[in-house]
């Protein structure tokens, strides 16, 4: 049975924990709003870009002279997994879920006899993957110094990826990140970016969208110019989605923590009051029996 003082101390400590989690929740809520705005602001560009690229890709096709970024290297032996996680923890299952998905892919690819390489973006994913798959890590992008995710952040990653692709370090690249559904749902997603996969929306509404474009300089020229930018665009949208997901996950995790702390405080307070009452009753009994003895 803990003493009254112990109980009091525990209540105080849980109270200060609750204050911290409450504050983190509110900070996450504010950051989430900003991250969501950024993700929404970035959407028109990504959508138009992918629509145009998809149209171009469909018309050029994956013939022999198609760009390698679109048609691939002709093999799928070496896979590069780009695992995007956050720089900070305390975001519930956010990082673990992404890493879990990545691990499943690593195991499956290894089972098929493929070579797997991993590039991590964000510290948390690196820490989790290093234990088991330390030998597959080929690089790491540190975002702890980045205050606001800008397009140049994505460009930097894209440039790194493209130069590795050019030197033949990998054949297929896949992004791992959490797609933002809502505050309570972030879906870990794997998205292949090299060779590029574009949803051929053009085929579906081919009847409606019959605009035939002239291309300057040429379809191939534009494609060669746009494909590397397309990689950056996809990385950028993934980064934005991930940032929003991270804050959403942290917000709900902290909300839970705050609630749990509240429940714990209630429980401890009851225990404290009971012990105090027991002490009082004891004292009374002692006094009364002392008086009776006289």
């Amino acid at each position: 049975m803990p003493s009254l003082k112990d109980l009091k101390n525990r209540i105080e400590s849980v109270k200060s924990t609750r204050k911290i989690t409450k504050a983190m929740q509110m900070v996450a809520a504010a950051k989430l709003r900003r991250a969501q705005e950024a993700a929404e602001a970035g959407r028109p560009y990504a959508e138009r870009f992918n629509a145009v690229l998809g149209g171009l890709a469909a018309s050029v096709g994956t013939g022999d002279n198609a760009p390698r970024l679109l048609a691939g290297t002709g093999s799928d032996q070496t896979h590069l997994l780009v695992v995007m996680t956050s720089e900070r923890g305390l975001a519930g299952g956010f990082n673990s879920n992404i890493v879990k998905l990545a691990k499943q892919h690593i195991e499956r690819l290894r089972g098929e006899g493929k070579t797997v390489k991993v590039l991590t973006v964000g510290k948390k994913g690196r820490e989790q993957l290093r234990r088991e798959y330390g030998d597959t890590l080929i690089g790491h992008v540190d975002l702890s110094e980045v205050k606001r995710i800008g397009y140049d952040t994505a460009q930097g990653i894209a440039r790194d990826l493209l130069s590795r692709f050019d030197t033949g370090e990998f054949d297929v690249a896949t992004l791992f990140f959490a797609r933002f559904g809502s505050v309570i749902s972030q879906v870990p997603t794997a998205q292949q970016i090299i060779p590029a996969v574009y949803e051929t929306a053009a085929e579906e509404d081919a009847g409606a969208d019959t605009t035939l474009y002239d291309y300057e300089p040429s379809e191939e020229g534009i494609l060669a110019d746009l494909l590397p930018r397309g990689v950056a665009t996809q990385i950028f949208s993934a980064l934005l989605e991930n940032a929003a997901s991270e804050q959403g996950a942290r917000m709900s995790a902290m909300d839970n923590a705050t609630r749990n702390a509240g429940e714990m405080i209630d429980k401890l307070t009851i225990q404290y009051n009971r012990s105090r009452q027991a002490v009082i009753t004891n004292e009374l009994i002692e006094i009364i029996s002392g008086a009776e003895a006289l």
Binding site: Y45, Y151, Y213, D214, E216, R229, T233
Partner: protein, 146 residues
């Protein structure tokens, strides 16, 4: 016949501008082109340069680098990696961009990526400098070495 068309300028981070325009001068890779309503559909890549948009009330200028423009009969959409109103571009911006172009060129030369990459990097640099001149931030000292 409509005498204006919908003009959109979008950068990866936000929608920079969206209004009705009667004339858009696009700095295409193969040279400038002016799109007016009922222009035949064209998609062109951009070189760094100044995008001049004649709207109903005013003419606005934007500095764009990298990306493409999609022209249809009733709309012009420009997707640029960087897009800023020309009046907001400062000496620092330009210096930074020219610096970047210089680095690209140096890297292309150093790693011997072939004449094509060196040429395109040199062109990028020249375009950047030309763009600076066009918006009145010229700097001859930074002109690319021959």
């Amino acid at each position: 016949m409509a005498d204006t068309m919908q003009f959109d300028l979008v950068s990866p981070e936000r929608r920079v501008a969206s209004f009705a325009a009667s004339e858009v001068l696009i700095p295409g890779t193969d040279g400038n082109l002016t799109a007016m309503p009922q222009h035949s559909p064209v998609i062109t890549t951009l070189r760094p340069g100044v995008l001049r948009v004649v709207g109903e009330q005013e003419t606005r200028e934007f500095v764009v680098t990298g990306g493409f423009a999609e022209v249809t009969a009733d709309s012009v959409s420009v997707l640029a990696e960087r897009a800023l109103p020309a009046s907001e571009v400062t000496r620092e911006h330009l210096d930074q961009w020219i610096e970047e172009a210089n680095t690209t060129l140096a890297q292309a030369r150093e790693h011997d990526l072939g004449a094509e990459s060196v040429d395109s990097a040199a062109k990028l640099l020249a375009d950047m400098v030309a763009m600076g001149t066009e918006i009145g931030l010229s700097d001859t000292a930074r002109a690319p070495a021959p």
